[in-house]
Structures are given as structure tokens and as C-alpha cells.
Amino acid sequence: MQLKDKLAILADAAKYDASCASSGAGKRHSLGKGGIGSTEGMGICHSYTPDGRCVSLLKILLTNFCIYDCAYCVNRVSSNVPRARFATAEVVRLTLEFYKRNYIEGLFLSSGIIRNGDYTMEQLVEVARSLREDHRFAGYIHLKTIPEASPELLAAAGRYADRLSINVELPTDAGLKQLAPQKHAQGIRDAMGELHTRILAAKPTKQEAQPKRRRPPKFAPAGQSTQMIVGADAADDRAILVSSDALYRQFRMRRVYYSAFSPIPDASTQLPLRAPPLLREHRLYQADWLLRFYGFDVKEIVDDTAGQDGMLDLDIDPKLAWALRHHERFPVDLNTAPREMLLRVPGLGARNVQRIVDSRRQGRLRVADLARLRAPLQKVLPFVVLLDHHPRQRLDDPVRLRRELAPAPRQADLFG
């Protein structure tokens, strides 16, 4: 089979992994080292496909042969998709040649399970080793990690890769049992715990970070991430967010990716007939941000006591939904309120909150100041007080306010 045909099959097989992040690896360059590649902390998207998703890494499978039979997966053993397998040298060649043309930031390599976990992991690690040692490649490498792989292979993977990931696959253990009978939730968590321990141990302490001090051996400096599939099993948004929250707390995940299960060629009869709306995935990401950067608890985002059915609203974002449920806590005076409360104002992002805190030290803020920060005034103004603005009675009728702020229904085909 030609390289081009393999690439077509093994890129197609990799596209259901949402992550394409190339950030967090710290600073590294190729000056005076005889190779190519650099990472400077911030990821770069080198292209966008018509699905609006960023293309940062060469995201491929080493092979889409797989001995597992996970119902949601296009590569499950019982699927009739065409199969292919790359040789190590072919992946190395594609990575280097793509990188030299500035198409990509690096490689995200994953694989179907062939023979067993260790054998598969060994193949993945060998690609990373060859890139780093044979070719002095200093670009970004993300390796998918096989939960049951041996500790020696994990150590090697962490030495060569910037990021490692193990997919939790489904939000609940019951969902995993039902749709991925050969995978084990406990085994996945154990492996995440193992990665977490090793990543922590490799972080230089303040003293070790001094020049000339001996540093611990490198291990996945960009940390670990994971992905769960949304809408393939019955888990509601609350179950998903509870699960993410635990992953962030227990394993310090850099990211939990949510992948709305989407129609795949040759789908299993076990899957629901309809794909979930992509908007659901979008709302989950917004809620995930609220958990990590805005000081919200899961219980506040999906609130039992407020008659929510375990699902996020689709028509308005979760922060606005929270504010409408708690309208008695508004308006917030932007000139005096503490930062924690500014972060809870609908329409104000973390960056604008910082700008407001900086600016108000210099003088009292008015509506025109807020407009200059390009905050969405229509959304913000009902919830805030400024020197020349007060929302008056608008907050007294949250039902009406919600109607005013919810966008008109959009063309359905945009979100499937």
C-alpha cells in the first residue's frame, strides 16, 4: 500500500480524538543542536478544517487494526473500515517533512491495540524515540498511552513525549462496561494515577530549578489530558461534569476533552440513532471553563434545587443561566465588587475582569469604558452597576430577561 493511502486511512481513523493542543511544553529550540523544532509554550494552529477545528499536530494512528470491540469506535474489531499500518520510519518521515514546511507543530500518535498493550505501546514509544534521538526533533509530541502498558514503557514514553493521554472514554463506569466491554474503568484510573505521580515527581522544585542543580529526569512536561464521548450513553451533563471535576482534582488533568459522538462510517447497532447536538458539547466546554477558571462548583452549574433535570440549557450559556437563577445576587457594582464576583458576571471573561480591576484603580468606570473593553454590553449591562448606569427593575423579572438574552434559534444545520 502506498504511503498516501495509508495516510488517508490512518488520519481518517484518528479524527474522533478532539485534542490537537500543542501547548504547555515549556521553551525549547533547535539552535546549535543540529535538528529542527521548537516549543514556546503557546500552541499554534497551522490550519483549520471546514469543521472549524484547529490543525496543530499531525494526528494519526500507527495502525487502525484493533483487537477491542468498543461500540462507539470506528476502528473496533467488528467494523468494516479499510485497515492499514504505518512502519515507524513512515511516521517519522511524515512528521519531519510536514514540520519542515511549517504545516504542523508536531505529532499526536495513537494506535489501535494490536497483540497486547505492551507491544502496542512499544511501537508508539519507538516512533518518539527515533524522532528525538535519531533526528533531534524538538517539536511537540503527544502520545496516547495504553493503560495496561508496563512501567518501563510509561517511563520511556514520558521521557520523549510532551504530553501523554489516556482516554476515560465514557463519563461513567456503567457506560464503559456497556459500550467498551474489554476496557476497565479501574485500570484506566490506575494508569492516570501512575502518570500523575510521575509527572509530579519530574517537576523540578524551586531549588532544583536553579542552574547547575541536578534535575529529576523529564516526564511529559505538558502533563496529561483525557477525552470522554458525549451522547453515546445515557449519562447526563451533571454526571459528565462530576466525572471531569474528579479527573481535574485527582490527576491534575490539563484538559478534559468532550467529543460529541458523531456519525461514523459503519456504525454499531448499539449506538443511539441520533447524534447529540454539537451545541451540547459546546455548553459542556463552557461549564468546564467555569469549573477551572471562574470558581464555580458542579453543584452550582447543574443545580438540583432549581429544577434542572441534570442537563445544561442549550439556548443560553451556563454562566448566564446561573446568574438568572441567582438574580438576587445582582446587580454587581463593577467599581467596587471583589474579583470573585466580577468573574460571575455574564459576558465578562477572565481577561476583561483583570482589565476592569486594573482600570478602576485609575478612575471610576462608565458604560463607555466597558464598551472600549469590547464586552458584550447587551449581556453585561442588566447585571452591573456603573457610574452612569443601573439596571433598575430589569433583574426583577428573570423570565423576561432570559427571553431577551436568549439568542433567536439558529440554523439547525450548523449544529447538526
Binding site: I44, C45, T49, P50, G52, E97, K100
Partner: protein
């Protein structure tokens, strides 16, 4: 306005050049509305006097370090008013408004911040969308053609040097070009599109990857256009595929939806579970 003093910044995006003129003007106590800023030497013909020839009336203006970094980015903006705006900011900082840059809501600061953001975005897009094409018959030599919105080539070049240290490469743009020979970085005059190779043999594989990593079930061209504006498409070999990929997406998804579940055609023998699992 009359009795203007002239400050010449060459090249127009250069921090040191602007800084030297600004220092002269400050030390001569020339208020912003008396200084006319220009980016080339044609004004030499005018009768106005150069700020560099004015008597020094005071010394020692120290500005916050973040102002210098900020000025460096604003100077890369194409707007002819950037030199004057920066001098106005400098004047105000020097006259007691030390924390001026924290006031994102001030009209001058706001405008400068918008320019700085435009430069940052342009810089980021250049790092993303430059495409190197291999020079035929040479080993590991590459040339890219790019058209940035602002004067950012000098600012971005060190990034490409750190990244592609082991290659020889050049980036050509209409106003300036930069070249790395493996040891030194050179900057020079602008060039033309025809000076760079039109394509690269690797483009075919890249297009294969691009077409196959796209998920037709998630078509969202609004988002794609927002992040990858059409003005960049001419630089991107993969962009030729866009019309077809977009047109075909609906049909591909319908076919997946309507397809009846298929019985597995191949059988992989069930293997014993790996040990310790």
C-alpha cells in the same frame, strides 16, 4: 499648526530608531503636538527642524519596562500615526501618569492596545500560515512567500530561526525579506511572489491528511473562516480543497446516516487477554 519639529524613524517599525528620536524630543521638551513624525527621509526637504538638532533642556526619562515592550509591538503596526501616538503616551507617562498603560479605558491607551493586538494577531497568523517550499535541486533549502498586514517580519524572524535552525530558509514578503543560512539571520528588501517556488512535492501528502482529518459531520465554516480568514488561503496548499470538502459534506453524512448496520466481514481471532489485565 506651525513651527513643527520633525522626527524621522527609519526603518519605520524599529524600536531603537523611534526611541532615539523620542528621547531627543523629550529632552528638548517638545510637546507632542509640535512634533511631526515621518517614516522616511523625504521630509528632509521641508523647512521644519529636526528634533535631533534641538538643544537639550533636561535629561533622564525612565519609563516602565512594559512600555518599551508595548511600544515595540505598536511600532510594527502600519498606521502612519503610530509614532506620534507612542510619543503622546510617553509624554503623559513622563508628566506624572506613571500607571497610564493600566488604563485600558483611556482613549490613547485603547487605540495603542488595539494596534498592539492587531500586530500580535498578525504575528501569530504568520507563524501559523507561512508555508515553506523546498528549493528544487538543493538539500534542505526552503523558501516561503507571505503577505503580512503589518511590518512584522523582523519581529517574527527569530521565531523561525529558533524553530528551523537545522535548515536553510528564506521568507519573502512584499516589503521585506529574511534569510537564515544555518548560522546567520539576514534581513533585506522585499520581493515578489514569483521569487518563491509555487509548490512543493510534499503538498499532495499534506492535502491527503487535511481532507481525511476533516469530519464532515461537524461542518462549521463560520468558525473556520473566523480563524483562517480567506486572505491567507492563497498561501495554503490545503485551501484548494475547501470548496469540494464543504460541498460534499452533507452527502457524506447522509450516506452514513442512511447506511444499514453491516455484519462484520472480517474476523480477527479472539486472543487470550494479556497477562495481568
Amino acid at each position: 499648526m506651525h513651527a513643527m519639529f520633525r522626527a524621522t524613524v527609519m526603518p519605520a517599525w524599529d524600536l531603537d530608531a523611534w526611541r532615539a528620536q523620542a528621547r531627543h524630543a523629550w529632552e528638548a521638551e517638545l510637546p507632542p503636538d509640535l512634533v511631526e513624525w515621518q517614516a522616511d527621509a523625504q521630509g528632509e526637504l521641508l523647512a521644519s527642524a529636526a528634533v535631533t538638532e534641538q538643544p537639550v533642556r533636561r535629561h533622564g526619562l525612565s519609563v516602565p519596562a512594559d512600555f518599551i515592550a508595548f511600544a515595540a509591538s505598536v511600532l510594527c503596526h502600519r498606521d502612519p500615526g503610530r509614532h506620534a501616538l507612542l510619543y503622546r503616551l510617553l509624554w503623559r507617562i513622563g508628566n506624572g501618569e506613571r500607571a497610564l498603560l493600566d488604563r485600558a479605558t483611556d482613549a490613547d491607551v485603547h487605540r495603542a492596545m488595539r494596534w498592539s493586538q492587531a500586530v500580535r494577531r498578525d504575528t501569530h497568523k504568520m507563524k501559523a500560515f507561512v508555508r515553506f517550499r523546498q528549493v528544487e535541486g538543493e538539500d534542505d533549502a526552503y523558501i516561503a512567500w507571505f503577505e503580512p498586514d503589518h511590518c512584522i517580519v523582523d519581529r517574527v524572524a527569530p521565531f523561525f530561526m529558533r524553530r528551523f535552525a537545522g535548515m536553510r530558509w528564506a521568507i519573502l514578503t512584499p516589503y521585506r525579506s529574511v534569510q537564515w543560512d544555518g548560522t546567520h539571520l539576514w534581513a533585506g528588501e522585499g520581493a515578489q511572489r514569483a521569487d518563491a517556488p509555487a509548490d512543493d512535492a510534499e503538498d499532495a501528502l499534506w492535502r491527503t491528511y487535511y481532507a481525511n482529518i476533516f469530519n464532515p459531520a461537524r461542518l462549521n465554516t463560520r468558525m473556520m473562516r473566523q480563524e483562517m480568514p480567506q486572505k491567507y488561503w492563497k498561501h495554503l496548499p490545503e485551501a484548494h480543497l475547501l470548496p469540494d470538502l464543504i460541498r460534499e459534506a452533507g452527502r457524506r453524512v447522509r450516506e452514513m446516516d442512511e447506511r444499514e448496520a453491516q455484519a462484520p466481514r472480517r474476523r480477527i481471532p479472539v486472543r487470550p487477554r494479556p497477562q495481568g489485565d
